[in-house]
Symmetry: C2
Subunit: 431 residues, 2 copies
């Protein structure tokens, strides 16, 4: 196959793509049925073999990545995007380590979530099962191919991976390694399939085929997420935005407030758990100078409301847009609030239901915040940057869901399962 | 307000209805925020007060129902539909008892589902929360108004109820009682709202307003479910069909097979857990005569494949359609299968993922069936008619979900919740 043809299906046109995608879906469905009865050991073997194959073919993967990088440079992509696209032997090793870690996670399938007996003697168990087929649509990072494919496999699901066009050759080389791992463990190769075309019509076809795909996980920018939420004919585990707040309450410990705000904003500004807005209680306004000292020294720009600017002249003027902007950069919006109700009201109005922290020594205020704020992750006296499945001790994650259905917060192997009821009787009939 | 106007909004037209529905949605969203922080006691008080009010206004509800019944008789509805629509003092008392039972269920909100500590000292809890706003669209049975409204309230959710046009006056009278209960407990009356129009455009508006409605539960015939699945812009807990199978394995106890098949099919033929297909193993074919004796005596019609007809002449000829028909009537399709794999293959191909039973004394075969069949409820040596939240000991249910996302099987108060992570720290920042 020539290079030009690599990302194109034979005779490619819209109905041809739909046909190809449906064939992919049917193969995934068949593989999922087989995976559902695959013992834990075989999945572990496949994951370890895939890791070995990633290491063995590291040079080929780097070469494939080089082709993607050259094309990307021609396209004038930003430095940040180029960095996300780049694969090095170290990054490939990290993917392999990730697969080995997923292999070591407890197998969620078959776990008894609850069990109880009925007065008539029936024994009821609620048991974890795979979901079926997971579709993952992602943008530039090619390592999602290994992370998402591996996590779906662990949970007994077949995966259909649709990578960004910039990372197609890299993703294909990684998918080849995963397939080799499946094959060597005797599992169906269709358990992890990469969409073999970069044509955008394939995304539409994927989102339409609800009979073959049980859930879609989009990973990327707002445009992608919104398209998926609009078009998908199946449930979506979406991470819309991480517009995270830190609320410094009147009873905050000043040193703790400084270190948490600095860490929440500046440790890494580009991750979804990075704080974007500081809500400072009027009763804690005396703490603002110290907080701003740290942030300014770390190179952070501040944009605040009138009360904040009055308290500290280094704060620029914020507009209404600032309260709803996920900067993912060294910028923090600052608002002065009158008490915890005003803080929670601000979060309800402007937040993205992702992650929020309160800093306070007042346990009663903290418990109200933890109970009443309707976000997936609430922290008391800890940094929002902990919003990550690994930091939760849940292992690898396929993303962080900002939705409330099925999966919320980090989406790991357990969240990629469903369940069923098994009832063991001795001939019971219903009166 | 005149009778004719009762089911119509002022100045009703499509954009007017959309506006009214959005106002309903916004009120529900506000009520949901308040309910999320309502203590268990206040919800219990509202449920008990609603039960009391149902009893107190029983005469008014019967009178409202009489209007619906008269209109229904003019429309030549079937006897079965008229029976579903009918309210009697006894049925109203049963609704009140149902609300009192929901009041006594454990409150799911705030339940700690899991908790663990991290090496850095952070304490993580996964805690149950309400979902938010639940939309319920139902057909003739007016008692759904009380059952669904009560169950949503128990789980801390606001409910928007859209009843069938035939039951509008009955449902409104019941909703009035629920609202009186909310009011007397000091809860927002918008916690349970009945759509105040029978115009079908209201359904379209409800399915579109994903910013106000978190999940839709359709209860009714296939046409309704399919419309909802097609149009809803939010997740759906749908009960598509109960095409339940009983598989009589070669190692079945003959007496048990007879009593389970008879009960699964004939106890009540109109419920979703009623068996529609008997799969009889060729190795158990000697048991068929006794099974057919019981069914024929109970008035059941049988339709089978060639092998079944050859074994018993009382079985009529089945067509391909019979394997996919939910009769909800005294008809059973019968197929002879060669072993458990063929039985599971038949279920995978024709089933609706609802409820299936195996009758066998062979524990190994039973465990394969329980583990490998991908339905919400699997029973070993017990009747499919147990597919019911009450029979599971889970309390009232809003329906049985045939989907695999979030809720599967009986949808009770617990399944109407989401969860969040609460993290309690002592100043932890992420390295």
């Amino acid at each position: 196959m020539t290079d030009a043809g690599a990302a194109r299906l034979p005779g490619e046109n819209e109905s041809g793509i739909e046909r190809e995608m449906r064939a992919l879906g049917a193969a995934a469905r068949a593989a999922a049925r087989e995976l559902a009865r695959t013992p834990a050991d075989a999945k572990i073997e496949a994951l370890n073999a895939a890791a070995t194959e990633l290491r063995r073919t590291s040079g080929d993967i780097v070469a494939a990545n080089t082709r993607d990088m050259m094309a990307a440079e021609d396209k004038d992509l930003s430095e940040a995007m180029l960095d996300r696209l780049l694969l090095t032997p170290e990054r490939i090793e990290a993917m392999a380590v990730g697969l080995d870690e997923i292999a070591r996670l407890p197998d969620p399938v078959g776990e008894v979530i609850a069990e109880w007996d009925r007065p008539n003697g029936m024994k009821i168990s609620r048991v974890r099962t795979p979901i079926g087929v997971i579709g993952i649509i992602y943008e530039s990072r090619p390592n999602v191919t290994a992370d998402a494919g591996g996590l779906c496999l662990k949970a007994g699901n077949a995966a259909i991976l649709r990578c960004g066009s910039e990372s197609f050759h890299s993703s294909r080389a990684i998918a080849d390694a995963l397939r080799a791992g499946l094959k060597s463990a005797g599992l169906p190769e269709a358990a992890i399939q990469l969409v073999p075309t970069t044509n955008r019509a394939a995304v539409g076809a994927l989102l339409a085929m609800h009979e073959f795909v049980d859930v879609i996980v989009p990973r990327g920018g707002r445009g992608l997420i919104e398209r998926v939420q609009r078009e998908a004919r199946m449930p979506v585990f979406a991470h819309l935005e991480g517009l995270c707040h830190v609320y410094v309450h009147g009873a905050a410990d000043p040193a703790m407030a400084r270190s948490i705000v600095l860490n929440a904003k500046m440790r890494r500004t580009g991750i979804c758990g990075a704080a974007e807005t500081l809500l400072i209680d009027r009763a804690a306004l005396g703490q603002l100078k110290g907080i701003v000292d740290d942030l300014v020294e770390a190179g952070c720009e501040l944009r605040g409301d009138a009360a904040a600017r009055e308290a500290d002249a280094r704060i620029e003027s914020a507009t209404e847009d600032d309260w709803t902007t996920e900067y993912l950069d060294a910028i923090l919006s600052v608002r002065v609030v009158d008490g915890i109700d005003a803080a929670m009201e601000h979060i309800a109005q402007y937040g993205s239901d992702h992650t929020e922290a309160i800093v306070t020594e007042d346990a009663e205020a903290a418990e109200r915040f933890l109970n009443e704020v309707d976000s997936g992750i609430l922290l008391w006296n800890a940094s929002t940057q902990f919003a990550d499945g690994g930091e939760f001790g849940m292992g690898a994650e396929i993303g962080i869901s900002t939705g409330k259905m099925h999966a919320r917060g980090p989406v790991g192997a357990e969240q990629l399962t469903s369940f069923k009821y098994q009832i063991r009787g001795t001939g019971q009939t219903r009166p």
